[in-house]
Amino acid sequence: MPITILYFAWLRERTGTGIEQLVLPQGVSTVADLIVFLRGRDAAHDAAFASPLVRAAVNQVFARPQTPLSPGDEVAFFPPVTGG
């Protein structure tokens, strides 16, 4: 299924990517699945997602590893927020 992925802060720096559009293979159906898939793509993604501090949002709402993905979703990866 087609999805859009956004990276922020050091996730953006370490993956070298701000935004990308992907078509996910069969079987990648949750945020956790997507992280496993992305880590397998290249060393930069693997290193970026090695941190236990990676957080995610699906369609601009904070998500969990088990959050399901649907075609057209906007998935974002980022470290814990530090605003204010």
Partner: protein
């Protein structure tokens, strides 16, 4: 009355206070919190870079404001967060809360800044005098402060 803005430009607390009070005619109390870029001798920085998630930020701030409205007798609130590169002493964030009486205004201000820090997608990077930089790590106290509410 809910005013939410995210932009690089500075804000004027007097103009924002007047605008909020003008929209909340029954207000007797206005409380505020302003966050300022801090550089100390123990931890000197030359700049702070603020990144956010456009779209989600505004939605998150609207959710935080709605939660404050449901918990406190608020007449209105203003949330302004700057992004981009800021220097020590410059404003980062403004929270304003207007109410009939002081306690809901003060309580809502504390609630809004605590939740903004833990629930809105902003990230800070510190730039040091030697030119290096580092993304800010959340303070343990921030999650604790938000969990009080």
């Amino acid at each position: 009355m809910r005013r939410i803005r995210v932009h690089p430009d500075d804000f004027d607390i007097a103009a924002e206070s007047a605008a909020l009070l003008a929209a909340c005619k029954q207000a007797g109390a206005l409380a505020s919190f302003t966050g300022v870029v801090r550089s100390t001798s123990a931890h000197p920085i030359t700049a702070l870079y603020l990144e956010h998630y456009p779209g989600m930020t505004e939605a998150a701030l609207a959710r935080i404001a709605a939660e404050a409205e449901s918990r406190f007798a608020l007449l209105g609130c203003t949330l302004i967060h700057r992004i981009g590169t800021l220097e020590p002493g410059q404003n980062i964030v403004l929270v304003l809360a207007a109410a009939a009486h002081r306690q809901p205004a003060l309580d809502a201000t504390g609630f809004l800044i605590d939740f903004l820090k833990t629930s809105a997608p902003f990230w800070k990077k510190e730039i040091f005098p030697d030119g290096t930089s580092a993304w800010v790590f959340p303070r343990d106290g921030d999650a604790q402060a938000a969990s009080r509410w």
